[in-house]
């Protein structure tokens, strides 16, 4: 792993080599050991290791960027030169704001676990055997990915800013299939392998797969649904991607544009972005080194805020919340550590309150149909069940839904007291299970 000392050395060399008015250096990467298994055997087992250093040079407001995955002096000088040449040959960026000076950061603790990095391939293989064996014994097949790794992010600039954070992570995603073709899913994440309870996750996926046998077809219509945390997290993630970022807000593309202060969702819905929450802690600063603030996005249904970066906050004349992605980030700032506040009843209690409806394990292959509404389509997957009179009575074939996400969060009947953290595409999402009324099912698979 690149140590803080080495990161500082690399950044200092790059800044020294630059003749720009301002220079920003981002160093990121890590190691990831992914043991992939399917049909009850390990079929792909990889160790990836890569880092990149990105240099941003600003001559006034003329900005250029270059990056490389090599860090020797010659390469650093080369990419500084490339970035500088680009900066000096192109037009001004009117949204460029001066870089910040040094900050103090509130670093999450206990996020680097040496045992997680030291786990040998043989030990991981044996752990995977422990996942496969009960599935085999039940006549089922297991497929999954068991991953451990570390990451480092370091940011420095020519105003003396330096930020460094390293962490380990572990995850298991697991799909169990019965001979009849039904499937069940489980996933677990943490900063250490110890936090990922492979036994419990295996039991969960196996139970779901067996319960998913003999699925029946269901007609399109509106149903009460219990969205388990995996499914709820996906819907929240898409709401966030199109709605909670400062760039979409400033450009009028977000459902929150011009609506801060209005009630847009149910009173029982509070959504925050907080890097200190959940079973995997996030990055305490953004990719320009600004401290990452905890931001309340929706409070008891009322739209409160979006997240901003240096560039979008300047345009919006508001505070930078420290959510910049790596420059130039044409996508804009987005929340990376979402939290949906839990409720007070258990998931089992939620199920018991459904007269006729569905229990949905996860959502799959979602796509934004209309970004301003925002509306989303997707399919259920790996465990979709029918609830009648408060009990799960059987399985249904996977269903297609089309939902207005903002309106969905107005139809939340209850949120469970238990929460789970999922991790997807660099973001963590901590959610309870949701009981949603009138979930719009528009089709199904055969």
């Amino acid at each position: 792993m690149i140590s803080e000392q080495l990161a500082r050395k690399i950044a200092d060399e790059a800044i020294r080599a630059s003749k720009a008015d301002e220079t920003l250096v981002l160093l990121a990467g890590g190691k990831s050991a992914l043991t992939r298994f399917a049909t009850n055997h390990i079929h792909q087992n990889v160790l990836q290791k890569d880092y990149f250093v990105q240099v941003v040079t600003a001559f006034g407001k003329n900005v250029g960027v270059a990056s490389s995955n090599l860090f020797d002096r010659g390469e650093l000088e080369r990419i500084v030169d490339v970035a500088s040449t680009v900066a000096q040959r192109q037009k001004e960026d009117p949204l460029w704001e001066p870089l910040s000076g040094p900050f103090r950061y509130e670093l999450p603790t206990h996020v680097y676990d040496e045992d997680t990095m030291a786990k040998a391939p043989e030990a991981k293989a044996e752990a995977v055997r422990g996942i496969i064996e009960p599935c085999k014994a039940a006549g089922c097949t297991a497929a999954g990915a068991y991953t451990n790794g570390d990451q480092v992010v370091a940011v420095a600039n020519s105003h003396g800013l330096f930020a460094y954070h390293a962490w380990t992570s572990a995850e298991l995603t697991l799909t169990v299939m019965t001979p009849e073709g039904s499937s069940g899913w489980a996933e677990g994440y943490g900063n250490s392998l110890e936090q990922v309870d492979t036994k419990a996750l295996t039991a969960r996926a196996l139970e779901k797969a067996v319960l998913a046998r003999n699925p029946v077809s269901l007609e399109p219509g509106k149903y009460d649904v219990i969205l388990e945390p995996s499914a709820a997290a996906t819907l929240l993630r898409y709401l966030s991607i199109v709605g909670f970022g400062g760039l979409a807000y400033n450009e009028g593309r977000s459902f929150l544009s011009g609506k801060l202060g209005e009630r847009l969702m149910g009173e029982n819905v509070t959504i925050r972005d907080d890097y200190q929450s959940g079973s995997i802690k996030g990055l305490p600063f953004d990719y320009e080194g600004h401290p990452r603030a905890s931001v309340t996005l929706i409070e008891r249904g009322v739209a409160k805020a979006v997240v901003h970066s240096r560039r979008t906050s300047g345009a919006a004349k508001t505070e930078n919340t420290g959510h910049a992605l790596p420059y130039p980030s044409t996508y804009g700032p987005i929340p990376l550590n979402l939290v949906l506040e839990p409720g007070t009843i258990s998931r089992d209690e939620q199920i018991s309150r459904v007269k006729r409806g569905l229990l949905i394990t996860r959502s799959w292959y979602e796509s934004i149909v209309d970004p301003k509404t925002p509306s989303l389509t997707g399919m259920t997957r790996d465990g979709t069940y029918l609830i009648e009179d408060g009990k799960v009575v059987g399985a249904v074939k996977n269903l297609r839904y089309n939902e207005d996400l903002r309106d969905l969060f107005s139809r939340v009947e209850s949120l469970s007291s238990e929460t789970e953290t999922t991790s997807d595409w660099g973001a963590t999402i901590t959610t309870p299970a949701l009981h949603v009324r009138d979930f719009n099912v528009t089709g199904s698979t055969k």
Partner: protein, 479 residues
């Protein structure tokens, strides 16, 4: 270096080893609303080592090519393979292949990396200026993306293959925000434009500036266009919408690794199971779908795959019947079929997976004009906006940027927010006409995701226009 790594791995017990050494560079340029959002240049180097021991694979990569670091990567790959062998199932058997020695390069008349930045920016800013000049446009974007990869593949069987690929892509889009929400029009296609395995000559031919105003006017017109009605109708697909339909409902489901269950945990499986090979009536007789890695300039083309098997052409769907999978040296022997050279990895730091090259709906026998003229009532849909399909590749739903009504054989006005849904075999069996070669194009898709860890492949699809009957449209807007 590669041979050193192979010899070392063999000394440590590997019975097969392959090594990829890759050097790459990329440039992305984004211009938006008259501002340069960013010019990013990325450089990458590394070595990826795949080792096969006792019926199992191990893989390790390293960006540092110093000897000691390569040795570390070799030891890791071997260690991982030996660990995998503890839980190996029936073990891997590789289909035999003749070692290959040779080189291949994509056509490149003008390296995009030699074109001055100012020249690229002039084109992009001109497009922006023309688009912003159309009243009602809120966001105008123009982008260029370039990539060059130099790859050396060496295997313990004696293959030594050098390949150089230069890729260029460019596109524009105009977005309006109003009473009809967010409406976007793209050119030549959505997903940052059209991509090919060619140099800058490709960008010069695209007509970005010439089409900028039209694209912007369509984005404005969409704000007041009527909503696409919901119901059952005839649909003609073209452009990158037809490309994406092929991609999702034929390309992916015919990857043999999916059929054998090794992608279940991420992208899923496929309804096109081995017992259906040769028996499934996938589509109508008008539907012939091919795989081709040899089309000059196509984004998905290559000389040899990342197992040293020559890139080739074969038929997947023959006049509606499912006849061949995309296979690899590992999956082919399981079904007793041939390895047809489809394995590709994203860079040096990933191991290869079965990937599409150019998967095409072969042209038919009717002109585009006659296709439209022969449609009494329906919709023409082009340029994808949303896409979704289930984990077995059956139920799908797509949306496009706009649609054109067809009434009595003529285009009769624009509609906004068109969507359509269906199930794969029902849909393709409803295909009753495919336009001819005059309107057939190869469309690049630069962002196909697969695998764990996730990889991106650059693929392409040949498509003209195709007509489908009794399709459900207006999904998601039929409240």
């Amino acid at each position: 270096m590669a041979q050193y790594a192979i010899d070392m791995a063999k000394d440590l017990g590997a019975t097969y080893v392959d090594v990829r050494l890759i050097r790459s560079r990329q440039q992305s340029i984004d211009v938006k609303n008259g501002r340069l959002e960013g010019v990013t240049n990325r450089y990458g180097n590394g070595i990826g080592i795949r080792a096969y021991i006792d019926g199992a694979w191990g893989f390790a990569g390293n960006p540092d090519l110093k000897l000691k670091k390569v040795e570390v990567a070799v030891r890791r790959a071997v260690l991982i393979a030996k660990a995998s062998a503890r839980v190996k199932g029936e073990g891997v058997r590789l289909a035999p292949v003749e070692p290959a020695k040779g080189s291949w390069a994509s056509p490149c008349a003008e390296s995009p990396f030699d074109v001055p930045l100012e020249e690229k920016l002039d084109i992009l800013f001109r497009c922006n200026e023309l688009m912003m000049g159309v009243e009602g446009v809120a966001i105008a974007k123009a982008t260029m993306d370039f990539r060059e990869e130099n790859k050396l593949f060496v295997s313990s069987e004696g293959s030594v293959i050098r390949q150089r690929t230069v890729q260029s892509g460019a596109g524009t889009s105009a977005t309006t925000v109003g009473a009809s929400g967010v409406q976007t029009r793209s050119f030549p296609y959505s997903f940052r434009g059209q991509f090919e395995n060619r140099g800058f000559e490709h960008v010069r031919r695209l007509g970005l500036v010439e089409n900028a105003e039209r694209v912007a006017r369509e984005a404005v017109e969409l704000q007041t266009a009527p909503q696409c009605e919901s119901g059952i109708t005839t649909v003609i697909l073209g452009g990158n919408q037809l490309a994406l339909q092929i991609h999702e409902s034929c390309g992916h489901p015919t990857e043999l690794d999916r059929a054998l269950g090794t992608e279940i945990n991420f992208a899923g499986g496929t309804f096109m199971q081995p017992e259906l090979l040769g028996n499934l009536k996938y589509g109508s007789e008008k539907v012939t779908i091919t795989y081709d890695a040899t089309i000059e300039g196509a984004l998905g083309s290559y000389g040899w795959d990342d197992e040293g098997v020559a890139g080739q052409r074969f038929t997947i769907i023959d006049r509606g019947r499912f006849v061949e999978y995309q296979t690899s040296r590992e999956t082919a022997p399981i079904l007793g079929v041939r390895a047809n050279g489809t394995m590709r990895a994203d860079g040096w730091n990933n191991l290869p997976l079965i990937r599409m090259a150019t998967v095409s709906l072969e042209p038919g026998d009717v002109s585009y004009e006659d296709l439209i003229a022969g449609t009494d009532d329906g919709l023409l849909l082009m340029d994808n906006r949303s896409w979704s399909i289930d984990d077995m590749r059956v139920n799908f739903q797509f949306g496009t940027e706009l649609g054109w009504r067809i009434k009595k054989g003529k285009l009769a006005g624009m509609v906004k927010n068109p969507t359509y849904t269906g199930t794969t075999t029902e849909f393709w069996n409803s295909c009753d006409a495919v336009a001819d070669r005059a309107s057939w194009k190869v469309i690049g898709i630069p962002n196909c995701g697969k695998g764990q860890p996730s990889q991106t492949a650059r693929v392409s699809h040949g498509a003209s226009f195709a007509r489908f009957r009794n399709v459900k449209v207006g999904v998601g807007y039929d409240k």
